[in-house]
């Protein structure tokens, strides 16, 4: 599809370097799906939906920096919604989010709650000032917060909150966050990997499933069309958590 023109209705700052952009259009996305955001004259980058008509963005590079210069009334081009998002299953679900990765989970949790599911959340942030969407998650059910520096909730990484939970109680687990954090969780909870859906990140160029830049080793899964939500048991047997490819296709570390 050609990018469709979309006016930004409102911009809200949630935390240092994290903003929510309210779009004039509801593209009818599913949680976990993404949209290619074209900041004209700069670049086009994939972004997750934090609601039916919002994207929540962390400023990390040239394109997001340019996006942060846009205010209400500015326009962007959008291709999407794209990819396979989360699938709701069961009656009791657990959401595990880290940083800006909590965005699609807040959206998912609200849909689950509307369907009458019981939602528990475990959310990790660097520090108190980085916490986002706390009230959205708390409105859904029990919410455990961790911070790396202990300034709020349990001190430590998100995995530090696992001891508060019995993962056998949940029909399905949903996870999204920095790759190192997700890897930390899914490698510690291997026995639950077949009921864990992870929303992951790779370098997308075409978002059409043909250029190959986002393919996962060893089976060549095209994350842009077969993901970005992938079952954790498949990730455990993949490159995930060990390396990822950059824009030139070469392998690099999977920080962030």
């Amino acid at each position: 599809m050609r990018p469709i023109n979309c006016i930004i209705q409102e911009v809200r700052s949630l935390a240092p370097q994290i903003r929510t952009f309210q779009l004039e259009r509801d593209l009818d996305p599913g949680p976990g799906q993404y949209v290619m955001v074209w900041i004209r004259g700069v670049d086009e980058v994939p972004m997750s939906f934090s609601g039916p008509d919002t994207i929540t963005v962390q400023s990390v590079g040239e394109a997001t920096k340019a996006l942060f210069k846009l205010g209400a009334g500015s326009s962007i081009g959008l291709r999407g919604p794209l990819g396979n998002g989360f699938v709701l299953r069961g009656k009791r679900i657990l959401l595990i989010g880290g940083g800006v990765g909590t965005a699609p989970l807040a959206f998912l949790g609200e849909q689950a709650s509307k369907r009458g599911m019981e939602v528990t959340s475990l959310l990790g942030f660097r520090s108190r000032e980085d916490i986002i969407f706390q009230s959205r998650f708390e409105a859904l059910g029990d919410t455990i917060i961790t911070t790396d520096d202990g300034s709020a909730g349990i001190m430590g990484r998100a995995a530090a909150g696992l001891k508060e939970l019995n993962l056998f109680e949940y029909d399905q687990i949903y996870i999204c966050g920095p790759e190192v954090m997700m890897w930390d969780i899914i490698s510690r909870t291997r026995e639950h990997s077949s009921k864990t859906q992870a929303c992951i990140n790779r370098y997308f160029k075409c978002a059409e499933g043909i250029c190959g830049s986002c393919c996962l080793d060893p089976d060549g899964t095209r994350v842009c069309v077969e993901g970005p939500v992938i079952m954790a048991d498949r990730l455990l047997e993949s490159e995930f958590g060990r390396y990822r490819r950059g824009p030139d296709g070469s392998k690099g570390p999977c920080r962030g």
Binding site: M1, R2, P3, N5, M36, W38, R40, G41, V42, D43, E44, V45, A63, S75, G77, R79, K205, C206, A207, E208, G209, I210, C211, G212, S213, C215, L216, D217, P218, D219, G220, R222, R245, G246, P247, D248, G249, S250
Partner: protein, 299 residues
């Protein structure tokens, strides 16, 4: 089932339907997956002598009749790609390395340093400064690059031609003089799309190359002319989406075909095409060889 095996461009192929360059060719895993899905051979993403990140996005935009792209030759350099080729080879089909350079010397350096079952010279990418069609539109350049790689390589050398020229046969003849084992036609057609809300060209590179259904009739004509005028095999590529398109391309004179944009529908396209092609040959009681170039013999 009719046999689909074919000897084309110096390679023995299980079937004549290959994965085109630039499509799912960034990793060994995706190339292997194409091979396991039934491709007769796979062509890598084009490899150069130094890593390149490619153009800014959007790099791809779907238009009414096909796909427009300006990836900008992103690749990790040929030195960092050998291990991917080894992985791709585990798919059990020939792996053809697409390579690019800005001079005959750069091309031959890469060909000396890289191990693959064949080389495909990218003398036709329409949207990368100093590379691709910027060399490949000059017959003397095509001949000298081909000659240099032939001298450097001990495997077959294919030359991928640009349709952005008045006379593609002239380029094909140049490749043949340079010693090419086959020509591959066509690369994308130079094209662009503009955002009507803002006037911005959509592609990050402003213009790019058009692929997909829109260019198939152009490709069929190019293959027809090349097959009529050359002694070396022609590999047809451009908008092939079905077994019917494949039959048409072989009728025009193609010894094998490559599929690219149609991979949007998934890896199943290879089996879809080979099964359809085999059934067609059976129904017509024809061999692949009898089918090839039949259009040129009809008058």
């Amino acid at each position: 089932m009719s046999s689909l095996t074919v000897h084309a461009g110096g390679l023995d192929l299980q079937n004549p339907v290959l994965l085109a360059a630039g499509i799912l060719g960034t990793t060994g895993a995706s190339l292997r997956r194409a091979a396991l899905a039934g491709a007769g051979g796979v062509v890598t993403k084009s490899l150069g002598s130094v890593p390149r990140e490619g153009h800014h996005g959007p790099t791809v935009v779907a238009v009414e009749c096909g796909l427009l792209n300006a990836m900008g030759l992103p690749n990790p350099s040929y030195r960092n790609f050998q291990e991917e080729i080894e992985i791709a080879r585990k798919g059990g089909r020939p792996v053809i390395a697409s390579i690019f350079g800005s001079s005959a010397r750069e091309f031959s350096q890469i060909a000396r340093g890289l191990k693959a079952d064949a080389f495909e010279l990218n003398l036709s990418c329409p949207h990368a400064e100093k590379y691709g069609s910027e060399l490949g539109r000059y017959p003397e350049m095509v001949e000298s690059v081909t000659g240099a790689v032939k001298a450097a390589a001990d495997v077959p050398v294919w030359v991928k031609l640009t349709p952005n020229t008045a006379d593609i046969l002239e380029l094909g003849l140049a490749a043949q003089r340079g010693g090419a084992d086959a020509v591959v036609a066509i690369n994308t057609l130079k094209a662009m799309a503009i955002d009507i809300e803002t006037g911005y060209p959509i592609l990050g590179n402003r213009f790019g190359g058009l692929s997909g259904r829109a260019i198939k009739p152009v490709a069929v004509r190019c293959v027809y002319d090349l097959a009529a005028g050359l002694d070396i095999p022609v590999i047809g590529v451009g908008g092939i989406t079905s077994w019917e398109d494949t039959v048409e391309m072989i009728l025009a004179g193609a010894s094998a075909v490559q599929v690219g944009t149609a991979l949007q529908r998934g890896y199943g396209i290879f089996e879809e095409i080979t099964v359809g092609l085999a059934r067609y040959l059976e129904r017509k009681s024809l061999t692949l060889e009898e089918l090839r170039g039949l259009a040129g013999r009809r008058s």
